[in-house]
């Protein structure tokens, strides 16, 4: 860790009670001038988590409403990809490496945790670069990095690939499951399936995740105010950030503006991190990705370019990996939740057959999933 940055800088000041209460006051006053209800979709599961954990809805007037979006890399992972991870982990001489919560998500055969209990060598890392160390310590093993996440985590996967190429390490492979945010936001507004009228008009504004924009810049959201007439505020993850961002959105509505604004000026710029974007362009191509509950969304996924095929676990293990699609549990309405047209308590098995200890859908597995957040913190909230 960087020496100049102290751990406490991560949160200090952004949870100040007086600031939060002051924003609550401003929003309450402004909201009286709205004359209608506005539904704000937080695209990202990190925001859902903050909103629930800090009880933000309790501070807001009735005409400001949150709807939860599809932005958690665990929640949107279709079962066949989880099965792929499971199968890969059980191949001979394989060490499967991934990030955090992914270990708990049930596929059709079980979760990586179950694979581990069966003897698979599954490890999670904090930084993908740790794969290099694991690969060097286990020269006779194949280390497969099961890469997940939005724009936020993609550059780290690039750095790993870059290091593997440069250092000519020949036992690290990749299973890429990266996705990008703007495409799915567009899909939520644009798509023409049976739900269209119910949710198309529901989203009045977006909270954009700041992590994503640290990398990609705020520019990726430009189309939403311009083309779709939905204002966007790129916001940080602390309660003060969220309150300030909501206040900015409300102000846009009462002043009749529709713009892209940045609340999280501490790290986000319009252009983002150019170097990270270049790396992503160098190693990845845009492909169709099947989002769990949302279906195929063109160009919303990333895949290794063909010239890196020798590192691609999907190529190397293509004979054992699943190709058929797998349906989700019939009762699970994660899909509707990820679209913002249902809330977790609408699900008939919420909190009964489906709990964090016994999840049926991944919205209950991931700590960033809407169902888990509701289950953990939500019962008191309005």
């Amino acid at each position: 860790m960087n020496d100049e940055l102290e751990l406490k800088d991560l949160y200090d000041g952004f949870r100040d009670a007086d600031t939060i209460k002051a924003f609550a006051k401003i929003i309450e006053e402004d909201a009286k001038k709205l004359g209608k209800t506005i539904n704000i979709m937080e695209v990202c599961g990190g925001h859902t988590h903050t909103i629930m954990k800090y009880g933000i809805p309790q501070l807001l007037p009735d005409n400001i409403n949150f709807i939860h979006g599809p932005g958690c890399p665990v929640c949107i992972m279709p079962k066949e990809r989880i099965d792929s991870a499971y199968i890969l982990s059980l191949q001979e001489d394989v060490i499967l490496v991934t990030l955090g919560d992914m270990i708990k998500v049930p596929g059709s055969k079980g979760s990586l945790q179950d694979a581990r209990a069966k003897g698979a060598d599954v490890r999670f890392v904090y930084s993908p670069l740790d794969c290099i160390k694991i690969a060097k310590e286990n020269p006779s093993k194949k280390v497969i990095f099961f890469a997940i996440g939005f724009e936020t985590t993609t550059p780290m996967t690039c750095s790993l690939l870059e290091a593997v190429v440069k250092q000519e390490i020949n036992n690290v492979y990749f299973h890429i499951n990266h996705v990008t945010v703007p495409e799915v936001m567009k899909e939520l507004i644009d798509s023409r399936d049976e739900h269209v009228d119910s949710y198309n008009n529901r989203i009045d504004a977006f909270l954009g995740p700041s992590h994503v924009s640290v990398i990609s810049g705020s520019k990726i959201y430009e189309q939403f105010p311009e083309h779709y007439k939905r204002p966007v505020v790129v916001a940080g993850f602390e309660p003060v950030d969220v309150m300030q961002a909501i206040s900015m959105l409300v102000k846009q509505f009462i002043e009749n503006r529709c713009e892209l604004e940045i609340e999280y000026k501490r790290l986000v710029s319009y252009d983002g991190n150019k170097r990270a974007q270049e790396m992503m362009d160098k190693y990845f191509k845009k492909v169709m990705f099947k989002w769990r509950g949302l279906g195929n969304i063109p160009t919303s996924g990333l895949e290794l370019k063909d010239e890196y095929n020798k590192y691609n676990a999907k190529e190397i293990y293509k004979d054992v990996l699943p190709i058929e699609e797998i349906e989700d549990h019939k009762l699970c309405i994660c899909g509707d939740i990820l679209r913002g047209i249902a809330n977790p308590p609408d699900c008939t098995v919420f909190g009964t057959a489906c709990k964090p200890t016994k999840p049926i859908g991944s919205c209950m597995v991931s700590s960033e999933g809407a169902c888990a957040a509701y289950y953990k913190y939500g019962n008191l909230l309005k």
Partner: protein
């Protein structure tokens, strides 16, 4: 529940499920069913407990597995108002383990025994082939003499307040920071310590304690949830009153954890009548590792068997029993 997963050892919900469905079902009896920190036997005169210790890394800031193994068992006795007296110590060692490390571990055990004025009276050693265990596992079992009877997590009422003895989460955060691949430089130290010394001071001061528990795996949130459950009450905690070190907060921020769910090895939670609270703070203030003890909450009937956390800006939410293996979040 088909196979045992690591989540079954987390001190939270899955752990309880495993214990009740497998072990309690087979072993049930009146003493075990009380599920206190230590069993009270011999007409209430003795406390009896056992614990096994595995930790990675074996040596970390503020303690090592040896110190843990003595503190853990002695603290379980202390939490029943008992003075630790006799321990057994049995170790399972992986072939290839360095004698030097073993000696270091045993030395810390010895130091910690002295602080409790307890002795090891019996033991056992097994060596197993490489790969059968992760370096070394230690089991300690202890017997203590009960000094104050009637301390129980089943007896908390609206007359009580809740006190925590020091800042929470230091042990869990230290272990996470020390794990491979974290690269966090911190001065953070495990809170690992023998608690009998403080408990004795409280008893000597004549304080009537309702319930006492050290907040090990599952942290303070597990203790409070168990208490709310066992005593049929709602425990309401003021978040800003819970002491958390800056570095622990930072690590929680990085990894997406809650400080109150992180493990401790020398932090305890007390429930006792309101009138006694100030006296407790005065006694605890004399000790280095409990000088920032704090009254963190009260007891009500608002939400039966639940723990409610109040934020400084006026919102509230439940504080759940931790679930799952503690895993860092994705981004």
């Amino acid at each position: 529940m088909k196979t045992v997963t690591l989540a079954h050892g987390n001190g939270g919900a899955e752990n309880q499920e495993l214990i009740s469905k497998v072990f309690y079902r087979a072993f049930k009896n009146d003493i075990l069913n009380k599920s206190e920190d230590a069993a009270i036997i011999q007409d209430g005169s003795l406390a009896f407990t056992t614990d096994s210790f595995t930790v990675s890394p074996l040596f970390f800031n503020g303690a090592d597995i040896g110190k843990l193994a003595v503190c853990g068992t002695c603290n379980d006795l202390a939490m029943m108002g008992a003075k630790p007296k006799y321990l057994t110590c049995s170790v399972i060692i992986e072939e290839g383990f360095e004698i030097k490390s073993l000696e270091k571990i045993v030395r810390s055990m010895k130091e910690e025994l002295a602080k409790n004025d307890a002795i090891v009276v019996s033991g056992d050693t097994k060596v197993v082939p490489k790969g059968s265990v992760d370096k070394i596992f230690i089991n300690t079992t202890g017997i203590g003499e009960v000094q104050q009877k009637g301390i129980s997590s089943n007896a908390i009422s609206e007359d009580d307040v809740i006190i925590v003895s020091r800042d929470v989460g230091a042990h869990g955060a230290t272990i996470f920071a020390a794990r491979e691949g974290m690269d966090i430089n911190t001065d953070l130290q495990s809170d690992c310590a023998s608690l009998w010394i403080q408990v004795k001071a409280l008893l000597d001061a004549g304080i009537k304690i309702t319930a006492l528990r050290d907040a090990t795996r599952g942290g303070v949130s597990a203790v409070l949830n168990e208490w709310a459950n066992q005593s049929n009450v709602c425990i309401e905690v003021q978040e800003e009153k819970v002491p958390v070190a800056d570095e622990v907060k930072g690590i929680c921020e990085l990894l997406g954890f809650e400080a109150m769910s992180l493990a401790n090895e020398g932090t305890f939670v007390l429930a006792l009548p309101k009138e006694e609270a100030q006296k407790v703070l005065d006694v605890l203030a004399q000790f280095d590792n409990s000088k920032n003890a704090s009254i963190i909450g009260s007891v009500s009937q608002a939400y039966e068997k639940r723990v409610v956390l109040h934020s400084p800006w006026g919102t509230k939410r439940f504080l759940e029993l931790p679930t799952g293996e503690l895993l860092p979040r994705i981004c």
